[in-house]
Protein backbone atom coordinates (compact mmCIF):
# COMPACT_ATOMS: atom_id res chain seq x y z
CA UNK A 1 0.00 0.00 0.00
CA UNK A 2 1.25 3.46 -0.89
CA UNK A 3 0.87 6.52 1.28
CA UNK A 4 -2.15 7.54 -0.78
CA UNK A 5 -3.67 4.11 -0.29
CA UNK A 6 -3.19 4.55 3.45
CA UNK A 7 -5.01 7.88 3.10
CA UNK A 8 -7.77 5.97 1.31
CA UNK A 9 -7.79 3.52 4.21
CA UNK A 10 -8.34 6.35 6.68
CA UNK A 11 -11.13 7.60 4.50
CA UNK A 12 -12.66 4.13 4.27
CA UNK A 13 -12.52 3.69 8.04
CA UNK A 14 -14.14 7.10 8.61
CA UNK A 15 -16.98 6.00 6.33
CA UNK A 16 -17.25 2.56 7.91
CA UNK A 17 -17.46 3.84 11.47
CA UNK A 18 -19.92 6.56 10.47
CA UNK A 19 -22.08 3.82 8.90
CA UNK A 20 -21.75 1.49 11.90
CA UNK A 21 -22.09 4.26 14.48
CA UNK A 22 -25.53 3.29 15.74
CA UNK A 23 -24.82 -0.43 15.74
CA UNK A 24 -21.68 0.09 17.81
CA UNK A 25 -23.56 2.47 20.11
CA UNK A 26 -26.20 -0.18 20.73
CA UNK A 27 -23.63 -2.89 21.38
CA UNK A 28 -21.91 -0.60 23.91
CA UNK A 29 -25.23 0.39 25.48
CA UNK A 30 -25.96 -3.29 26.16
CA UNK A 31 -22.90 -3.75 28.36
CA UNK A 32 -21.26 -0.33 28.74
CA UNK A 33 -22.25 3.31 28.41
CA UNK A 34 -23.24 3.52 24.77
CA UNK A 35 -20.67 6.04 23.58
CA UNK A 36 -18.44 3.74 21.54
CA UNK A 37 -20.18 4.42 18.22
CA UNK A 38 -19.95 8.20 18.53
CA UNK A 39 -16.34 8.00 19.70
CA UNK A 40 -15.14 5.84 16.80
CA UNK A 41 -17.00 7.95 14.24
CA UNK A 42 -15.58 11.18 15.66
CA UNK A 43 -12.06 9.77 16.04
CA UNK A 44 -11.75 8.30 12.56
CA UNK A 45 -13.14 11.45 11.05
CA UNK A 46 -10.19 13.21 12.70
CA UNK A 47 -7.85 10.48 11.44
CA UNK A 48 -9.05 11.04 7.89
CA UNK A 49 -8.49 14.78 8.21
CA UNK A 50 -5.05 14.23 9.72
CA UNK A 51 -3.92 11.96 6.89
CA UNK A 52 -5.23 14.41 4.30
CA UNK A 53 -3.29 17.24 5.89
CA UNK A 54 0.07 15.48 5.85
CA UNK A 55 1.94 15.52 2.54
CA UNK A 56 4.53 13.11 1.22
CA UNK A 57 4.84 9.40 0.46
CA UNK A 58 6.15 8.08 3.80
CA UNK A 59 3.49 5.51 4.79
CA UNK A 60 4.82 5.48 8.35
CA UNK A 61 4.21 9.21 8.69
CA UNK A 62 0.67 8.89 7.33
CA UNK A 63 -0.14 6.03 9.73
CA UNK A 64 1.29 8.03 12.62
CA UNK A 65 -0.85 10.99 11.65
CA UNK A 66 -3.88 8.71 11.61
CA UNK A 67 -2.93 7.48 15.09
CA UNK A 68 -2.74 11.04 16.37
CA UNK A 69 -6.17 11.78 14.94
CA UNK A 70 -7.64 8.69 16.57
CA UNK A 71 -5.91 9.55 19.82
CA UNK A 72 -7.34 13.03 20.11
CA UNK A 73 -10.72 12.22 18.65
CA UNK A 74 -12.11 9.05 20.22
CA UNK A 75 -11.70 9.48 23.98
CA UNK A 76 -12.89 6.90 26.52
CA UNK A 77 -11.19 3.54 27.00
CA UNK A 78 -10.92 2.53 23.36
CA UNK A 79 -9.47 5.72 21.90
CA UNK A 80 -5.96 5.38 23.24
CA UNK A 81 -5.96 1.68 22.36
CA UNK A 82 -6.95 2.12 18.70
CA UNK A 83 -4.50 5.01 18.54
CA UNK A 84 -1.78 2.68 19.81
CA UNK A 85 -2.40 0.34 16.90
CA UNK A 86 -1.87 3.08 14.32
CA UNK A 87 1.09 4.58 16.14
CA UNK A 88 2.72 1.13 16.29
CA UNK A 89 2.08 0.59 12.58
CA UNK A 90 3.49 4.04 11.88
CA UNK A 91 6.63 3.27 13.85
CA UNK A 92 7.06 -0.12 12.12
CA UNK A 93 6.72 1.45 8.66
CA UNK A 94 8.59 4.69 9.36
CA UNK A 95 10.43 5.86 6.25
CA UNK A 96 8.90 3.24 3.93
CA UNK A 97 7.02 4.29 0.81
CA UNK A 98 5.10 1.05 0.58
CA UNK A 99 3.41 -0.68 3.47
CA UNK A 100 4.34 -4.35 3.37
CA UNK A 101 3.04 -7.38 5.23
CA UNK A 102 6.13 -7.43 7.41
CA UNK A 103 5.43 -3.90 8.64
CA UNK A 104 1.89 -4.87 9.49
CA UNK A 105 2.97 -8.00 11.36
CA UNK A 106 5.53 -6.05 13.37
CA UNK A 107 3.16 -3.16 14.06
CA UNK A 108 0.28 -5.37 15.13
CA UNK A 109 2.53 -7.45 17.35
CA UNK A 110 3.81 -4.33 19.04
CA UNK A 111 0.27 -2.96 19.33
CA UNK A 112 -0.99 -6.18 20.90
CA UNK A 113 1.53 -5.97 23.70
CA UNK A 114 1.04 -2.21 24.16
CA UNK A 115 -2.73 -2.55 24.34
CA UNK A 116 -2.49 -5.46 26.77
CA UNK A 117 -0.12 -3.46 28.94
CA UNK A 118 -2.09 -0.19 28.86
CA UNK A 119 -5.39 -1.96 29.46
CA UNK A 120 -3.98 -4.60 31.82
CA UNK A 121 -6.03 -7.01 29.79
CA UNK A 122 -5.39 -10.57 28.72
CA UNK A 123 -6.71 -12.50 25.80
CA UNK A 124 -10.11 -13.91 26.78
CA UNK A 125 -11.09 -10.87 28.86
CA UNK A 126 -13.72 -9.82 26.27
CA UNK A 127 -11.99 -6.82 24.76
CA UNK A 128 -10.74 -5.66 21.38
CA UNK A 129 -7.69 -7.88 22.04
CA UNK A 130 -9.86 -10.90 21.33
CA UNK A 131 -10.19 -9.70 17.73
CA UNK A 132 -6.66 -8.33 17.37
CA UNK A 133 -4.89 -11.46 18.65
CA UNK A 134 -6.38 -13.92 16.10
CA UNK A 135 -5.85 -11.30 13.36
CA UNK A 136 -2.18 -11.13 14.31
CA UNK A 137 -1.93 -14.94 14.25
CA UNK A 138 -3.40 -14.94 10.76
CA UNK A 139 -1.00 -12.20 9.62
CA UNK A 140 1.92 -14.20 10.93
CA UNK A 141 0.74 -17.31 9.12
CA UNK A 142 0.73 -15.23 5.94
CA UNK A 143 3.87 -13.27 6.68
CA UNK A 144 5.35 -14.08 3.28
CA UNK A 145 2.20 -13.32 1.29
CA UNK A 146 1.09 -10.10 -0.32
CA UNK A 147 -0.56 -7.64 2.04
CA UNK A 148 -4.05 -8.03 0.53
CA UNK A 149 -3.92 -11.79 1.02
CA UNK A 150 -2.60 -11.52 4.56
CA UNK A 151 -5.34 -9.02 5.37
CA UNK A 152 -8.01 -11.30 3.93
CA UNK A 153 -7.06 -13.92 6.47
CA UNK A 154 -6.73 -11.36 9.26
CA UNK A 155 -10.18 -9.92 8.57
CA UNK A 156 -11.78 -13.35 8.77
CA UNK A 157 -9.92 -14.17 11.96
CA UNK A 158 -10.77 -10.80 13.58
CA UNK A 159 -14.46 -11.23 12.84
CA UNK A 160 -14.42 -14.78 14.26
CA UNK A 161 -12.65 -13.47 17.33
CA UNK A 162 -15.20 -10.71 17.77
CA UNK A 163 -18.08 -13.14 17.47
CA UNK A 164 -16.46 -15.43 20.03
CA UNK A 165 -16.50 -12.67 22.66
CA UNK A 166 -20.22 -13.34 23.06
CA UNK A 167 -19.41 -16.18 25.45
CA UNK A 168 -16.73 -14.35 27.44
CA UNK A 169 -16.94 -12.59 30.84
CA UNK A 170 -15.71 -8.99 30.84
CA UNK A 171 -12.95 -8.25 33.32
CA UNK A 172 -12.13 -4.72 32.16
CA UNK A 173 -13.91 -1.59 31.01
CA UNK A 174 -17.49 -0.83 31.79
CA UNK A 175 -18.80 -4.15 30.46
CA UNK A 176 -17.31 -5.63 33.63
CA UNK A 177 -20.22 -4.11 35.55
CA UNK A 178 -22.89 -5.40 33.18
CA UNK A 179 -25.11 -8.21 34.49
CA UNK A 180 -23.07 -11.46 34.32
CA UNK A 181 -20.20 -9.37 32.98
CA UNK A 182 -21.84 -9.16 29.58
CA UNK A 183 -22.03 -12.88 28.76
CA UNK A 184 -24.40 -13.19 25.79
CA UNK A 185 -23.32 -9.89 24.22
CA UNK A 186 -20.44 -9.29 21.81
CA UNK A 187 -17.79 -6.78 22.83
CA UNK A 188 -18.15 -3.51 20.87
CA UNK A 189 -14.40 -2.84 20.80
CA UNK A 190 -13.78 -6.27 19.31
CA UNK A 191 -16.41 -5.62 16.64
CA UNK A 192 -14.70 -2.30 15.85
CA UNK A 193 -11.42 -4.16 15.47
CA UNK A 194 -13.03 -6.61 13.04
CA UNK A 195 -14.47 -3.72 11.03
CA UNK A 196 -10.99 -2.23 10.90
CA UNK A 197 -9.39 -5.33 9.35
CA UNK A 198 -12.33 -5.86 6.99
CA UNK A 199 -12.13 -2.31 5.70
CA UNK A 200 -8.39 -2.53 5.43
CA UNK A 201 -8.67 -5.70 3.35
CA UNK A 202 -11.23 -4.02 1.09
CA UNK A 203 -8.95 -1.05 0.49
CA UNK A 204 -5.82 -3.19 0.07
CA UNK A 205 -7.39 -5.35 -2.62
CA UNK A 206 -8.43 -2.19 -4.40
CA UNK A 207 -12.17 -2.45 -3.57
CA UNK A 208 -14.43 0.46 -2.76
CA UNK A 209 -14.39 1.39 0.91
Amino acid sequence: MTADEVRALADGLAQAYARERDVLAQLDAATGDGDHGAGMARGFDRARAATAEIDGDDVGAVLTAAGRGVMSGVGGASGALFASLFLALGAAAAGATTLETEHVVAGCADALSRIARLGRAEIGDKTMLDALAPALDALRAHADDALADALAAAALAAREGAVATVAMCARHGRARYAPEAGVGHVDPGAVSMAILFETWHDVARGGAA
Binding site: D33, D35, G39, R68, M71, S72, G73, V74, G75, G76, A77, S78, G79, A80, L81, A83, S84, L118, G119, R120, H172, G173, R174, R176, Y177, A178, P179
Partner: protein, 337 residues
Protein backbone atom coordinates in the same frame (compact mmCIF):
# COMPACT_ATOMS: atom_id res chain seq x y z
CA UNK B 1 -36.39 21.64 27.02
CA UNK B 2 -35.46 19.52 30.02
CA UNK B 3 -31.77 20.40 29.99
CA UNK B 4 -30.23 23.80 29.57
CA UNK B 5 -27.99 23.03 26.63
CA UNK B 6 -27.29 24.81 23.37
CA UNK B 7 -25.71 22.20 21.12
CA UNK B 8 -24.70 18.83 22.65
CA UNK B 9 -21.54 18.87 20.53
CA UNK B 10 -20.49 22.19 22.07
CA UNK B 11 -21.66 21.42 25.61
CA UNK B 12 -18.23 21.02 27.16
CA UNK B 13 -16.89 24.14 25.44
CA UNK B 14 -19.93 26.17 26.49
CA UNK B 15 -19.53 24.98 30.06
CA UNK B 16 -15.88 26.00 30.15
CA UNK B 17 -16.75 29.38 28.58
CA UNK B 18 -19.32 30.01 31.31
CA UNK B 19 -16.92 28.88 34.01
CA UNK B 20 -13.96 31.04 33.08
CA UNK B 21 -16.32 33.97 32.49
CA UNK B 22 -17.71 33.67 36.03
CA UNK B 23 -14.55 32.79 37.94
CA UNK B 24 -11.92 34.52 35.81
CA UNK B 25 -10.33 35.94 38.96
CA UNK B 26 -9.41 32.35 39.93
CA UNK B 27 -9.20 30.18 36.80
CA UNK B 28 -8.57 30.49 33.10
CA UNK B 29 -8.20 28.42 29.96
CA UNK B 30 -4.80 26.89 29.31
CA UNK B 31 -3.08 26.78 25.93
CA UNK B 32 -5.58 24.09 24.92
CA UNK B 33 -9.26 25.15 25.10
CA UNK B 34 -10.22 21.97 26.94
CA UNK B 35 -7.66 22.46 29.71
CA UNK B 36 -8.56 24.73 32.62
CA UNK B 37 -5.80 26.11 34.86
CA UNK B 38 -5.32 28.52 37.73
CA UNK B 39 -5.31 32.14 36.72
CA UNK B 40 -2.01 32.62 38.50
CA UNK B 41 0.22 29.56 38.50
CA UNK B 42 1.65 28.13 41.65
CA UNK B 43 5.23 29.31 42.40
CA UNK B 44 8.06 27.59 40.54
CA UNK B 45 9.65 24.70 42.35
CA UNK B 46 6.33 23.30 43.58
CA UNK B 47 4.87 20.03 42.36
CA UNK B 48 1.91 20.44 40.01
CA UNK B 49 -1.35 18.52 40.51
CA UNK B 50 -3.20 17.58 37.34
CA UNK B 51 -6.19 15.46 36.47
CA UNK B 52 -8.09 14.43 33.37
CA UNK B 53 -11.65 13.23 33.70
CA UNK B 54 -14.91 12.96 31.84
CA UNK B 55 -17.28 15.88 32.39
CA UNK B 56 -20.83 15.63 33.68
CA UNK B 57 -19.75 15.23 37.33
CA UNK B 58 -19.29 18.90 38.21
CA UNK B 59 -18.18 20.56 40.41
CA UNK B 60 -15.50 17.85 40.79
CA UNK B 61 -12.22 18.52 39.05
CA UNK B 62 -13.16 21.66 37.08
CA UNK B 63 -14.44 23.40 40.22
CA UNK B 64 -11.47 22.39 42.37
CA UNK B 65 -8.77 24.27 40.51
CA UNK B 66 -7.07 26.78 42.76
CA UNK B 67 -4.51 27.34 45.47
CA UNK B 68 -4.53 24.36 47.85
CA UNK B 69 -5.96 21.93 45.33
CA UNK B 70 -5.55 21.40 41.57
CA UNK B 71 -3.37 23.15 39.02
CA UNK B 72 -4.92 21.89 35.80
CA UNK B 73 -7.85 19.81 34.60
CA UNK B 74 -8.17 18.19 31.18
CA UNK B 75 -11.92 18.13 30.56
CA UNK B 76 -13.23 15.14 28.60
CA UNK B 77 -16.57 14.73 26.89
CA UNK B 78 -19.55 13.88 29.10
CA UNK B 79 -18.67 10.69 30.99
CA UNK B 80 -15.74 9.98 28.64
CA UNK B 81 -12.11 10.06 29.70
CA UNK B 82 -10.13 12.76 27.89
CA UNK B 83 -7.65 11.52 25.28
CA UNK B 84 -3.94 11.20 26.06
CA UNK B 85 -2.87 14.32 24.18
CA UNK B 86 -5.34 16.39 26.21
CA UNK B 87 -4.13 14.91 29.48
CA UNK B 88 -0.61 15.68 28.30
CA UNK B 89 -1.60 19.35 27.92
CA UNK B 90 -2.80 19.36 31.54
CA UNK B 91 0.48 17.83 32.67
CA UNK B 92 2.45 20.45 30.77
CA UNK B 93 0.28 23.24 32.14
CA UNK B 94 0.83 22.19 35.75
CA UNK B 95 4.57 21.66 35.56
CA UNK B 96 6.48 24.23 37.63
CA UNK B 97 9.82 22.52 37.44
CA UNK B 98 9.37 20.08 40.32
CA UNK B 99 7.37 17.39 38.56
CA UNK B 100 3.66 16.67 38.27
CA UNK B 101 1.36 14.33 40.16
CA UNK B 102 -1.34 13.07 37.80
CA UNK B 103 -4.42 11.95 39.71
CA UNK B 104 -6.30 9.11 38.04
CA UNK B 105 -9.66 7.87 39.23
CA UNK B 106 -9.64 4.18 38.47
CA UNK B 107 -12.01 3.68 35.52
CA UNK B 108 -10.77 1.85 32.43
CA UNK B 109 -10.80 4.88 30.15
CA UNK B 110 -9.17 7.22 32.63
CA UNK B 111 -6.41 4.77 33.41
CA UNK B 112 -5.58 3.94 29.81
CA UNK B 113 -5.52 7.53 28.63
CA UNK B 114 -3.55 8.68 31.64
CA UNK B 115 -0.92 6.00 31.18
CA UNK B 116 -0.47 6.88 27.57
CA UNK B 117 -0.31 10.56 28.51
CA UNK B 118 2.41 9.75 31.04
CA UNK B 119 4.41 8.00 28.31
CA UNK B 120 4.05 11.02 26.04
CA UNK B 121 5.04 13.40 28.83
CA UNK B 122 8.10 11.39 29.79
CA UNK B 123 9.10 11.22 26.15
CA UNK B 124 9.16 15.05 26.31
CA UNK B 125 11.40 14.92 29.37
CA UNK B 126 8.71 15.88 31.86
CA UNK B 127 8.71 14.34 35.30
CA UNK B 128 5.27 12.94 36.06
CA UNK B 129 3.89 10.24 38.35
CA UNK B 130 0.37 8.86 38.01
CA UNK B 131 -1.55 8.07 41.21
CA UNK B 132 -4.39 5.59 40.77
CA UNK B 133 -7.30 6.30 43.12
CA UNK B 134 -9.85 3.62 44.09
CA UNK B 135 -12.18 3.61 47.06
CA UNK B 136 -15.49 2.01 46.05
CA UNK B 137 -15.94 -1.06 48.27
CA UNK B 138 -18.74 -2.38 46.06
CA UNK B 139 -16.68 -2.84 42.92
CA UNK B 140 -14.27 -5.61 43.95
CA UNK B 141 -13.90 -7.76 47.07
CA UNK B 142 -11.59 -6.98 49.94
CA UNK B 143 -8.06 -8.14 49.11
CA UNK B 144 -8.49 -6.90 45.55
CA UNK B 145 -8.61 -3.21 46.46
CA UNK B 146 -6.56 -2.21 43.44
CA UNK B 147 -9.34 -3.55 41.17
CA UNK B 148 -11.87 -1.15 42.66
CA UNK B 149 -13.26 1.95 41.01
CA UNK B 150 -12.67 5.56 41.94
CA UNK B 151 -15.65 7.03 43.79
CA UNK B 152 -16.30 10.30 45.67
CA UNK B 153 -13.82 9.38 48.44
CA UNK B 154 -11.13 10.45 45.98
CA UNK B 155 -12.03 13.95 47.25
CA UNK B 156 -9.80 13.28 50.26
CA UNK B 157 -6.83 12.60 47.99
CA UNK B 158 -7.37 15.78 45.95
CA UNK B 159 -7.60 17.90 49.07
CA UNK B 160 -4.67 16.39 50.94
CA UNK B 161 -2.13 16.21 48.12
CA UNK B 162 -3.29 19.64 46.93
CA UNK B 163 -2.56 21.16 50.31
CA UNK B 164 0.84 19.51 50.73
CA UNK B 165 1.95 20.34 47.18
CA UNK B 166 1.18 23.98 47.93
CA UNK B 167 3.39 23.76 51.00
CA UNK B 168 6.28 22.37 48.98
CA UNK B 169 6.16 18.59 49.43
CA UNK B 170 8.23 16.70 46.85
CA UNK B 171 6.75 14.48 44.14
CA UNK B 172 7.91 11.35 45.93
CA UNK B 173 6.37 12.52 49.18
CA UNK B 174 3.12 13.29 47.40
CA UNK B 175 2.95 9.88 45.76
CA UNK B 176 3.46 8.27 49.17
CA UNK B 177 0.97 10.56 50.88
CA UNK B 178 -1.68 10.20 48.15
CA UNK B 179 -1.34 6.41 48.27
CA UNK B 180 -1.73 6.50 52.03
CA UNK B 181 -4.92 8.58 51.83
CA UNK B 182 -6.30 6.29 49.13
CA UNK B 183 -5.50 3.17 51.14
CA UNK B 184 -7.22 4.67 54.19
CA UNK B 185 -10.42 5.58 52.27
CA UNK B 186 -13.60 3.60 51.66
CA UNK B 187 -16.82 4.63 49.87
CA UNK B 188 -20.24 3.13 49.22
CA UNK B 189 -22.99 4.76 47.14
CA UNK B 190 -26.76 4.37 46.97
CA UNK B 191 -28.79 5.47 43.95
CA UNK B 192 -32.51 6.29 44.08
CA UNK B 193 -33.21 7.54 40.56
CA UNK B 194 -31.19 8.00 37.36
CA UNK B 195 -29.84 11.24 35.95
CA UNK B 196 -30.69 12.44 32.47
CA UNK B 197 -27.97 12.40 29.82
CA UNK B 198 -27.44 15.93 28.47
CA UNK B 199 -26.49 14.35 25.15
CA UNK B 200 -29.57 12.19 24.58
CA UNK B 201 -32.07 13.83 26.97
CA UNK B 202 -32.91 10.34 28.23
CA UNK B 203 -32.50 8.77 31.71
CA UNK B 204 -29.13 7.05 32.04
CA UNK B 205 -30.51 3.81 33.49
CA UNK B 206 -33.73 2.58 34.99
CA UNK B 207 -34.43 1.47 38.52
CA UNK B 208 -37.66 -0.21 39.62
CA UNK B 209 -39.87 2.23 41.59
CA UNK B 210 -39.06 2.03 45.29
CA UNK B 211 -35.74 0.22 44.86
CA UNK B 212 -32.42 1.67 45.91
CA UNK B 213 -29.25 0.44 44.28
CA UNK B 214 -26.28 -0.03 46.59
CA UNK B 215 -22.88 0.42 45.02
CA UNK B 216 -23.93 2.45 41.98
CA UNK B 217 -20.86 3.89 40.23
CA UNK B 218 -20.44 7.51 39.21
CA UNK B 219 -21.50 6.74 35.64
CA UNK B 220 -24.42 4.58 36.72
CA UNK B 221 -22.50 1.30 36.76
CA UNK B 222 -24.20 -1.30 38.97
CA UNK B 223 -22.49 -2.53 42.12
CA UNK B 224 -23.65 -4.62 45.07
CA UNK B 225 -27.38 -5.22 45.22
CA UNK B 226 -30.71 -3.48 45.38
CA UNK B 227 -32.54 -2.88 48.65
CA UNK B 228 -35.91 -1.45 49.64
CA UNK B 229 -35.27 0.57 52.80
CA UNK B 230 -38.22 2.49 54.18
CA UNK B 231 -36.25 5.34 55.72
CA UNK B 232 -32.98 7.20 55.31
CA UNK B 233 -31.79 5.80 58.63
CA UNK B 234 -32.48 2.19 57.65
CA UNK B 235 -30.60 2.67 54.40
CA UNK B 236 -27.56 4.21 56.09
CA UNK B 237 -27.53 1.39 58.65
CA UNK B 238 -27.51 -1.09 55.80
CA UNK B 239 -24.55 0.68 54.20
CA UNK B 240 -22.27 1.56 57.08
CA UNK B 241 -21.04 -1.96 57.95
CA UNK B 242 -19.96 -2.51 54.34
CA UNK B 243 -17.73 0.54 54.68
CA UNK B 244 -16.58 0.20 58.29
CA UNK B 245 -15.78 -3.51 58.19
CA UNK B 246 -13.86 -3.31 54.94
CA UNK B 247 -10.83 -1.36 56.08
CA UNK B 248 -11.77 -2.01 58.96
CA UNK B 249 -12.35 1.23 60.83
CA UNK B 250 -12.05 0.54 64.53
CA UNK B 251 -13.07 2.01 67.86
CA UNK B 252 -10.96 5.08 68.51
CA UNK B 253 -10.11 5.72 64.87
CA UNK B 254 -10.49 9.31 63.76
CA UNK B 255 -11.99 9.75 60.31
CA UNK B 256 -12.74 12.30 57.66
CA UNK B 257 -16.36 11.95 56.51
CA UNK B 258 -17.92 12.89 53.18
CA UNK B 259 -21.64 12.56 52.52
CA UNK B 260 -21.81 13.31 48.82
CA UNK B 261 -24.94 13.98 46.82
CA UNK B 262 -25.20 12.59 43.28
CA UNK B 263 -26.90 15.72 41.98
CA UNK B 264 -30.66 15.20 42.32
CA UNK B 265 -30.74 14.78 46.09
CA UNK B 266 -31.39 17.88 48.18
CA UNK B 267 -29.06 19.19 50.85
CA UNK B 268 -31.95 18.69 53.30
CA UNK B 269 -31.82 14.97 52.58
CA UNK B 270 -28.02 14.80 52.68
CA UNK B 271 -28.10 16.35 56.14
CA UNK B 272 -30.70 13.80 57.25
CA UNK B 273 -28.35 11.10 55.92
CA UNK B 274 -25.41 12.62 57.75
CA UNK B 275 -27.37 12.47 60.99
CA UNK B 276 -27.57 8.69 60.64
CA UNK B 277 -23.93 8.39 59.60
CA UNK B 278 -22.89 10.34 62.70
CA UNK B 279 -25.09 8.12 64.88
CA UNK B 280 -23.55 4.91 63.55
CA UNK B 281 -20.02 6.30 63.93
CA UNK B 282 -20.79 7.21 67.51
CA UNK B 283 -22.13 3.73 68.24
CA UNK B 284 -18.97 2.21 66.76
CA UNK B 285 -16.71 4.59 68.66
CA UNK B 286 -15.27 6.01 65.44
CA UNK B 287 -14.61 9.73 65.76
CA UNK B 288 -15.49 12.07 62.87
CA UNK B 289 -13.30 15.07 62.10
CA UNK B 290 -14.79 18.12 60.33
CA UNK B 291 -17.17 16.26 57.98
CA UNK B 292 -18.21 17.53 54.57
CA UNK B 293 -21.76 17.31 53.25
CA UNK B 294 -22.81 18.42 49.77
CA UNK B 295 -22.98 17.52 46.09
CA UNK B 296 -19.37 17.51 44.97
CA UNK B 297 -19.13 14.50 42.67
CA UNK B 298 -22.34 14.26 40.69
CA UNK B 299 -23.79 12.17 37.89
CA UNK B 300 -25.99 14.83 36.35
CA UNK B 301 -29.19 14.91 38.46
CA UNK B 302 -29.02 11.30 39.58
CA UNK B 303 -30.74 10.98 42.97
CA UNK B 304 -28.72 9.32 45.71
CA UNK B 305 -25.61 9.76 47.77
CA UNK B 306 -22.41 8.13 48.85
CA UNK B 307 -20.69 7.86 52.20
CA UNK B 308 -16.90 8.04 52.34
CA UNK B 309 -14.59 7.65 55.30
CA UNK B 310 -10.83 8.20 55.49
CA UNK B 311 -8.76 7.21 58.50
CA UNK B 312 -6.79 10.21 59.72
CA UNK B 313 -3.23 10.74 60.73
CA UNK B 314 -1.64 14.03 61.70
CA UNK B 315 -0.36 14.93 58.27
CA UNK B 316 -3.75 14.19 56.68
CA UNK B 317 -5.53 16.21 59.34
CA UNK B 318 -3.33 19.25 58.83
CA UNK B 319 -3.75 19.00 55.07
CA UNK B 320 -7.56 18.73 55.44
CA UNK B 321 -7.53 21.92 57.49
CA UNK B 322 -5.36 23.88 55.06
CA UNK B 323 -7.01 26.71 53.11
CA UNK B 324 -8.28 26.29 49.56
CA UNK B 325 -9.15 29.02 47.07
CA UNK B 326 -11.00 27.02 44.44
CA UNK B 327 -14.41 28.13 43.13
CA UNK B 328 -16.30 25.06 44.34
CA UNK B 329 -14.44 23.48 47.23
CA UNK B 330 -15.29 24.77 50.63
CA UNK B 331 -14.82 23.51 54.14
CA UNK B 332 -14.10 26.50 56.36
CA UNK B 333 -13.28 26.32 60.02
CA UNK B 334 -13.53 29.04 62.66
CA UNK B 335 -10.84 31.62 62.10
CA UNK B 336 -9.37 31.36 65.63
CA UNK B 337 -10.87 28.31 67.34
Amino acid sequence: MRKLVNDPDRLVDDMIDGYVAAYGDLVSRGDHPRVVVRRRSKPRGRVGIAIGNGSGHEPIALGWIGAGMLDANAVGEVFAAPPPDLVLEAIRASDRGAGVLLLVSRHAGDVINAEMAVELARAEGLRVEPLLMYDDVSSAPKGREEDRRGAPGTTFVYKVVGARAEEGASLDELVALGSRVRDATRTLAAALAPGVSPLTGRPMFSLPEGEVFLGMGVHGEPGLRSVTSATADELVREMMPEILDDLPFERGDEVLVLVNGMGGTTLMELLVVHRSVAAVLEERGVVPYRPLVGSFVTTQEMAGFSISLCRLDDEIRRAWDAPVRAPFFHRPEEANP
